[in-house]
Symmetry: C2
Subunit: 704 residues, 2 copies
């Protein structure tokens, strides 16, 4: 099947994206990095982040090389039966390296942008905002660029999405490490710094005497820039691949859709396969236009500016995607054209659903709305009640986004079957450039605020930086809701493409089959276990951090007086090594359990396993993200002087909520997305193995 | 199909059970109720419990009458198409009234036994133990007796399990109110009493000056005797009905089982239908023998005595059930005899699994095992870390029982198909008489300890009562694990009988059907929402209780000096009315959501909804029960003088864990069982409606 030439649009868009990322990098780097003290602090952060990334990448190198060998030698090729599986293996390598490159570029600029944004705040809000925003946009554009270029070229060369699956698996396995590792790192440092520095020695936040301060700042970068970026990169590529695989499964001739039958031509199918790439290219253009308009217009209200960018990108997407749907439809038969327009509809619905999900999670975590306000008031009755309240609202907050995803899924299915569901995921993720940019903006301004404080830039500048920071927090809440919804739809699409690949899309996944029921049962339990392991990892690591901070203060009293600098490298080392060590068990789970379920109970049970994990993972991810966010904001609202303000028993109770929420919202909750994608892709990649005659006895090894 | 005469065994066993319950009641009542002060306190508790039950039953009367009318008039009869559905309606009424009667009898003796057990402790440990144990056994035997008599008679008269389903639904709808209502009541009083009495006025536990003390004691009885009793009654009857329905669905001639085909005769099927009842009768005999042997042997180690009773009942069950399997098989053909022995195997496996589950939950909540010890140590790092640690271990504790249920289900299925799974649930619940007796023993000795303290019986007697109490806590942990496992297997069996009834056991529940996927999605979310609503209900109610206690202390200072008695009726009133009001939303959810899902998306989606709810409900129920239990015991371990003991910051942090755990383990967690059974039975009972032509369009109203 020839690749339609219009695919060049995706490739060019990807190249432009990388070009713009490098241009924004240039714009950021040419700014004034501020006074000596600021540069010193920023230097520590940069060094810490680079140390982490270097160690992380070294370990990843071994891991990637090992999996590369497994894919090439252990997995039967699904393209040339009997041959070595080198196509998927190479694609895997490119995906992994691409993800690492994008993460590196984003982080590199992020740690340069913080001090420059702080300095920018001395000029104007807009100046500070622009620097931070461009700094964040580098990550967003790098992610989209690498994804579009990688997928386009691999598909062009190999002409089958099965190989692109390897690319996606590469991106995903890196994301698992970056997201979980970053999440453990950032909370180890944060919790450790708070427990000793704030509680025992009464040091303020970001105090340079606290040995874990720099580690905390590094954590913001590795968790929220590299981590969230690789997470969305992962979902983005996976949604594209799932849709491509489902399109490639269409057969020439009559194809059954929920709304009726359609006759597809070879050219029609070829166009459908690349439609997700084209629509993502359109989403990138929409994101760039949004970014450009924000800059042009300027704004003294950073929060509004970020949201305006999202709205603009959305509106532009609707128009531009209609144009490209028209271009894609040229020369096709009428029925195919109708289908293309239905697909345009599914992508639009996905995008709208994503934005609604983002704002739902914003509602549940805003301090001027009922849930967070009630949680703050619960602090009046003590530590326990604040926990019960936040936990309950977190659980309740699952209902609206669940209904949102269900509705989007149902309408998309009604419009274009399971392919429609996959395209809704693609649509939701199409403006991921904007989403990642807004998200990466957060840690930059968060760091900028700390640097402004340590660089003695004065009250006014700090207040400006504070405003930028608070906009970053809102953006982060929205991004998280968006990311969970997008991952959820993506893994549902992957589930369909998996069943298509396994040849069970017709026979179905029957819950009354005992193997299938067992698969679903195991699937529902896994996200719970995974979350628990990550939370315990943070707890264990933070305890080590606490010991180290105490040791430094005790052995060298000059640190507390400010005469000598604390040993930042030691705390960074603990956070780094600890987070990587604690990653081992969760990553084994995410790869070994799906394969084991497939071998023992068969591919249908593996499908049910994925479905169970997707649904229960959604509940845990939303609950943890939202209760964590609400606890955080309830605490901040109290610190703003409400209910007695700082230092009261009420405030202390709210801090307990915030501390519980830290690993909920920044470690376990968001890592579940990546877990789900990795497990889904593992199932697809190892399909060749699972379908080997020895395992393919109808219901796996355990014939029940 | 004629009813085999051997069914008389179940009826006789039921009558013996009630007789023994009344005999034990006599044994308890003839004991010395202790001194005047003790009788006074016990009188308050008795009065409070009766007040609660009266108001509860009044409301239940209206509810039962309304549902009675719905069943008779709105639901199409599944026995005589076109006729009024009076058979199921009457069975429903009997089930509801039977459940209420059993609850009343158990509660009535429970509140009489407490002061007598306290007085018994002045004579010997054994005396105190015997009184409390017989008091608890009344509830256990009443539950089993009412169930066996009710099911046997109804089946004898109507000769179809469809009518027995009405009985089960009656029992279940009462259980929902008793369990959730009792759970909210007990924690409203407990949390309220602690927050003001202990924290603000520094009163000790069970202090008579605290206006909520009596309400707290009442709560133990309504939550742990009536609530847990009705919960297990509910599961017990439901497991019997599910197995009967699956047996009744066998057709004469060749029937396909996982291990091969079997030819069944009419007589064979008739015997299979009553097999669950016979095995439950056997379980009852085994329980009675266990109880008798415990009494005969006597023991100064109450904890060991309770466990010995459970082991004895298990061993006796294996032997006796083999004998009755032999009796059941007389006159059948060889293939049927083989099947009966396979079924004996499934029931044995179910029972063993139940006991293993009980001891697993014991492991995760014992203060001498790693999880609880780690949680206690986490208290050194403050309130937040104790919460994170307990929550994580709670999640991890889901894995072993999940594997246990999966294994039991898989082996049972391999032995006898879905009927085997149902019979494993029956086997697990066969010794429910022992389980409920052990559980109801707990609140009696808990109350006895308080009464001994208030009746000034001296240090030695209080220490004896303490030992009885601590055995009660262990028994409670085991019971909870057992109850969750049993409910889980039961609802899985109900799921199969539901699909059999809906005629989709052959077409299956295909997760790739979008309606089914949506059903599963909604199902997974419901237990989370339900838990959150119950926790918030406790929080809201406890806040009212706090206000009332403060009001009494402020308006009448003589309460604190002990000159005047607090107004107990007021606090009991708050707990009673509040718990009933807060029940409305959760009970609507449990009945309305399944019907809505069935109407909108069809019966297959309803099946997936149930499956999703069962699996996610299992995760939430186990997590909440075990983390709650572990927090409780971590606190007690610290109060025993470890890590600095009472009054330290570490102790305070552990109290936070305990308070969070209270509604987890005593309200939300255990209520999920009942939710699942009610939803499953609602689906089955309303099947006639859902299969009406207007809804039965293949996939419900929303044709996707």
């Amino acid at each position: 099947m020839a690749v339609p030439i219009i695919l060049i649009v995706a490739l060019i868009a990807g190249i432009i994206s990388i070009g713009m990322a490098l241009y924004f990098r240039y714009l950021v780097l040419k700014e004034d990095p501020g006074n000596e003290r600021m540069q010193e602090v920023a230097g520590y952060i940069e060094e810490g982040a680079k140390t982490y990334i270097k160690i992380q990448y070294k370990i990843l190198g071994i891991f990637v090389a090992a999996l590369f060998l497994v894919i090439i030698f252990a997995l039967p090729s699904q393209i040339n039966p009997g041959a070595l599986n080198w196509e998927q293996a190479i694609a895997y390598l490119i995906g992994a390296v691409g993800s690492m490159l994008a993460g590196w570029l984003g982080m590199y600029v992020g740690v340069k942008a913080n001090t420059r944004a702080a300095q920018g705040c001395t000029i104007s809000t807009k100046k500070g905002f622009d620097i931070a925003f461009f700094g964040g946009a580098v990550m967003g554009l790098a992610v989209v660029g690498v994804a579009l270029i990688g997928v386009s070229i691999i598909y062009w060369i190999f002409q089958t999405p099965i190989v692109v699956l390897g690319f996606s698996f590469g991106a995903s396995s890196i994301a698992l490490f970056m997201k979980c590792g970053g999440g453990i790192f950032t909370k180890t440092a944060d919790v450790g710094a708070d427990l000793v520095g704030k509680a025992e020695y009464d040091l303020p936040e970001d105090d340079p005497r606290n040995p874990a301060t720099i580690a905390d700042n590094v954590g913001d970068n590795v968790g929220d820039i590299a981590g969230m970026g690789s997470d969305l990169f992962d979902s983005y590529v996976a949604s594209i691949v799932a849709a491509m695989m489902l399109a490639a499964a269409f057969s020439i001739g009559i194809v059954v859709f929920p709304f009726g039958n359609i006759t597809l031509t070879e050219e029609g199918i070829a166009r459908l396969i690349i439609t997700p790439l084209i629509l993502c290219a359109v989403g990138l253009m929409a994101s760039l236009i949004g970014i450009y308009l924000i800059k042009l217009k300027g704004s003294d209200e950073p929060g509004k500016a970020l949201n305006t960018g999202t709205y603009l990108a959305t509106v532009v997407y609707f128009g531009l995607s209609a144009l490209f749907t028209f271009l894609l439809s040229i020369g096709l038969v009428a029925e195919e054209i109708g289908l293309l327009w239905r697909i345009w509809g599914t992508s639009a619905i996905g995008l709208i659903a994503g934005i609604i999900l983002g704002f739902t999670s914003d509602y549940f975590t805003r301090d001027d709305k009922k849930p967070t306000r009630n949680i703050a008031n619960a602090a009046k009755e003590g530590h326990a009640v604040v926990i019960l309240s936040g936990f309950s609202y977190g659980l309740i907050s699952v209902v609206p986004p669940a209904l949102g995803v269900i509705l989007a899924m149902a309408v998309a299915f009604w419009l274009a079957g399971v392919f429609g569901v996959a395209m809704a995921a693609v649509g939701m993720l199409s403006i991921v450039g904007t989403i990642v940019s807004n998200d990466a903006y957060g840690p930059i301004v968060d760091n900028a605020r700390g640097i402004a404080e340590q660089g003695d830039l004065g009250e006014d500048v700090i207040r400006t930086a504070d405003r930028l920071d608070s906009a970053g927090n809102t953006a982060k809440a929205i991004t998280k809701g968006f990311a969970i919804g997008a991952a959820n739809l993506t893994v549902l699409a992957l589930l369909f493409s998996f069943t298509e690949e396994a040849g069970i899309i017709l026979t179905g996944i029957n819950l009354l089959d005992i193997n299938v029921l067992i698969g679903a049962f195991i699937g529902v339990v896994v996200p719970a276990l995974f979350s628990a392991l990550l939370i315990l990892a943070v707890q264990r690591n933070a305890a080590k951090m606490v010991d180290e901070i105490r040791r430094q203060f005790e052995e060298n009293p000059k640190i507390l007086t400010g005469e000598e600098a604390a040993d930042f490298s030691k705390t960074i080392d603990i956070a780094t090594k600890g987070s990587l060590r604690e990653l081992i068990l969760p990553s084994i789970i995410s790869i070994v359990i799906p394969i084991t379920v497939g071998i023992l109970f068969g591919v249908a049970a593996l499908g049910a396993f994925l479905a169970g994990a997707i649904l229960s993972g959604f509940v845990f991810a939303v609950m943890m993200s939202n209760s964590g966010g609400a606890w955080d904001n309830a605490k901040k609202w109290i610190e703003d002087g409400n209910l007695g303000g700082k230092g009261t028993e009420i405030h202390k109770a709210s801090i307990t909520g915030d501390t519980v929420g830290d690993p909920f919202k920044d470690t376990a909750g968001p890592s579940i997305n990546t877990l789900l994608v990795v497990m889904s892709l593992t199932a697809s990649i190892f399909m060749g193995l699972l379908l080997l005659p020895i395992f393919n006895l109808g219901a796996g090894l355990l014939l029940l």
